[in-house]
């Protein structure tokens, strides 16, 4: 396997492309993504999205925050060659909801907000609280791994450019058309 530092820099784009692919997936085929985990019923974009454009000499970065923030500017940036570098997600199961932020460069899962653990006083209660909490965390990570695997299988497939990338391009242009339509009315 490649040296980790070399791999980090050479394939950093994979993480950003994955998050952009994920955003498109959430908007266009969320049910199919949810089907990758038996307990996840909904996946939504959360309250933060960071877009970076590293194509020029200087790096451009746009951060969009807020529960009901419009993502038009972010989509406009994508059309100029930017990619998503950080995305907040909201996952829902039948009983719980999980919020987290994913960073493209290292796939770190940050600020995972999960239901509070039960209080514990004895070693038995500690173990019970631990198992309850690790179950929540594992659920989030398993779901995340499953969608990353789907992305990688599409990314290395012969259909990437003509089908999947083309679909992303269409999604962006459709959004552009929609936006222009709104502005014109």
């Amino acid at each position: 396997m490649l040296d980790l530092t070399v791999a980090y820099h050479r394939y950093r784009f994979l993480g950003d492309e994955f998050l952009t692919w994920l955003w498109q997936g959430i908007e266009t085929r969320a049910a199919a993504l949810c089907a990758l985990h038996p307990e996840i019923l909904a996946v939504e974009i959360g309250d933060r999205l960071v877009i970076e454009n590293r194509t020029g000499q200087s790096k451009e970065k746009i951060t969009i925050k807020g529960d009901h923030a419009g993502l038009e500017e972010a989509k406009l940036a994508l059309r100029k060659g930017a990619w998503v570098s950080e995305i907040a997600l909201l996952l829902r199961t039948a009983e719980k909801e999980y919020r987290l932020t994913v960073k493209g460069e290292n796939l770190n899962l940050c600020g995972i907000k999960i239901p509070s653990a039960s209080a514990f006083a004895s070693p038995e209660e500690l173990e019970s609280s631990f198992l309850e909490r690790i179950d929540h965390i594992s659920k989030v990570i398993d779901f995340f791994d499953n969608i990353f695997s789907l992305y990688i299988s599409e990314r290395i497939s012969a259909k990437w450019k003509n089908v999947h990338l083309s679909s992303m391009r269409k999604w962006m242009l459709d959004e552009g058309a929609k936006k222009r339509g709104v502005m014109n009315t």
Partner: protein, 202 residues
């Protein structure tokens, strides 16, 4: 942020290698050999080592205290003695004056100043209490996976170093490339395709 915080951040690792012999005993031995040691009255600037999950200030690896379910659960503790710059400046200035008065001279040579700085630093380190930083980890040996609950660069680097020394196992950090290579079930041909990827252009 600890495991039981309301909000946790996770860096994931793949654990490379296998432990031969009694697994739990080998882990216990590694934990005990590299347990955190107290540096209260020690001039050491920092110290790192393993400590118990849930009782980080009283490490105890007896029994199955570091086993919860199918997981090894313990914590990395890094103690540091931060010397405030202003405190160092005060101590150094006072020591310099004292030395000049004692020697009845008007200046100290460069070597004398350097020696005095080292003496002042050692004196302060022996008196300043260390500040503990505790980072929890969960190691699933069967799945060769480890969750480390901190994204701090220095904490992760120390984890990788100490883990190798304690258990003779390597940690491979999960980043986009290693996630694809190690966790997506790719065959040899698919790994070649992965290695040949270049950035897309939409």
């Amino acid at each position: 942020m600890g495991f039981f915080s309301s909000s946790v951040s996770v860096v994931r690792y793949r654990v490379e290698g296998k432990i031969t012999g009694n697994l739990t005993e080998a882990v216990r031995e590694g934990l005990k050999r590299h347990a955190i040691r107290e540096i209260e009255d020690d001039p050491a600037e920092s110290c790192s080592g393993w400590t118990s999950f849930g009782s980080p200030f009283q490490p105890d690896f007896e029994g199955d205290s570091f086993l919860l379910g199918n997981h090894f659960v313990f914590s990395l503790r890094i103690d540091r003695k931060p010397i405030p710059a202003s405190l160092f400046q005060k101590e150094f200035t006072l020591s310099s004056r004292r030395r000049l008065r004692e020697t009845r001279r008007s200046f100290l040579s460069r070597d004398e100043k350097q020696a005095l700085k080292e003496k002042v630093t050692a004196s302060l380190l022996a008196r300043i209490p260390p500040v503990p930083h505790v980072y929890d980890l969960v190691w699933n040996y069967e799945q060769a996976g480890l969750f480390f609950f901190s994204v701090q660069k220095t904490a992760n680097e120390e984890l990788e170093r100490l883990f190798r020394r304690s258990f003779s196992l390597s940690l491979i950090r999960i980043i986009p490339y290693t996630a694809a290579e190690l966790q997506c079930g790719l065959g040899a041909k698919e790994k070649d395709l992965l290695a040949a990827l270049t950035p897309s252009r939409i």
